[in-house]
Symmetry: C2
Subunit: 245 residues, 2 copies
């Protein structure tokens, strides 16, 4: 379960067991497994916490408990503090995305990293913030930037996880069918246009040319699959067989 | 309150008022204000919902209620469906980040966008997914990718918000003081080294040269501020005045 190539999540004096559980869930969403708790007020293995973790109870069971932040970070080498508001601290302030990039690079050099999150009501105490190498500030609407503890864990974890994978920006998912090549698409268009020509006065219409161009644009822009082409053939034939008299 | 240069958030058949409230809070975190609810099971203006919105009750009060998804999206032109698992749908699948970029571009051309989120227990029904231009899949740990409704809203909204602002990756926050220029840093180092030379046999130490280099590295790597330099002068002078006999 323990993986050292990832940052530790350190919750400093969390108040509610439910928030600890939801933070564990958010960690698991982001492939993070090392949870450390500094002087939690409630039992992190209570039914409330386990239920809120929604399947991430292993993270709660493996959580390490410390009585001070200093002990919780003792074996780590690079610490980030998350804060929602600016403090009177002379410190680099990084976006979650940039910090994630830095941590990924640090961890690849075996520099062990940890991220501090403060108590729900107040956020981190300055005594804890000043232990950190840098501050993470999540860019959010300044009119309303207060986040639930587990949501802060989620956003920071999400940025970290994004750096660990290579999700393609966009995929065209065709499942069991595959894309129709252009020959098949043009065959279909010819078939469609012939059927239209068979109907009344389509060929004579002065808009005929424009309509053909529009039809071709609709169906070529669309990246049709073979399955979809078959559906379209079926519909045209159905209409052909069931014309109104 | 209504801003048309942003995507509408459409919750389809949300089950719990609390989740609607928390989604409103997440929307406000991300500067999103247009909430649409399709056939919500509970009252979105209940005390539970308002309390969960944690200050975002305006969004709940302005929410529009529809009985079908079709009605909820009728005035929009580009629709995204969020799904946690792959469906049997032939559709482009985009990351939240890429979709945010596309929506930002679309909105700048006055193309109105909306994002569909499904009911808590089941996610979106296929009948709703097939109304969308594309699917948003949030890249998360495949071993545990189930998200609370409001967390899905938060992550998608966060990616959108990030595109609207230009948060610098890193800022060195010095508050009221400012960075010391190199002349002041070197003056301080000289002062420090002179003080050390006055102490016992520092100058004679064979490690003297290496120690000077290390000291210079420590203090030049550090981007000291004027305030911090003053603190360091103060400490050196204090030690100088209070030597052990």
């Amino acid at each position: 379960m323990m993986r050292f190539n990832q940052p530790s999540i350190i919750l400093v004096e969390p108040q509610l067991a439910e928030n600890v559980g939801m933070s564990a869930r958010a960690m698991m969403n982001c492939g993070l497994y090392d949870l450390r708790l500094v002087h939690p007020r409630e039992d992190h293995l209570s039914e409330k916490a386990i239920s809120a973790s929604s399947g991430a109870e292993k993270i709660l069971q493996n959580a390490k408990i410390f009585s001070t932040t200093e002990e919780a970070i003792a074996d780590l080498e690079q610490i980030y503090a998350t804060t929602a508001r600016r403090r009177d601290m002379i410190k680099p302030v990084e976006t979650a995305s940039y910090a994630a990039q830095n941590m990924t690079q640090a961890l690849s050099q075996d520099i062990r990293c940890g991220i501090l999150f403060g108590p729900e009501r107040t956020g981190l105490h300055n005594d804890d913030v000043c232990l950190a190498n840098a501050i993470i500030e999540i860019p959010l609407n300044p009119e309303h930037c207060s986040l639930n503890l587990s949501q802060a864990v989620l956003l920071v974890g999400y940025e970290w996880y994004k750096r660990q994978i290579e999700a393609p920006d966009i995929q065209f998912v065709t499942n069991k069918t595959s894309l129709a090549d252009k020959e098949k698409v043009l065959q279909f268009l010819k078939y469609f246009e012939d059927k239209l020509d068979n109907c009344g006065n389509f060929r004579q219409s002065e808009k005929h040319e424009r309509m053909i161009i529009n039809l071709r644009n609709i169906f070529t822009r669309n990246q049709l699959t073979l399955q979809e082409l078959n559906t379209l053939y079926g519909i045209i034939n159905y209409l052909d067989r069931h014309r109104p008299d």
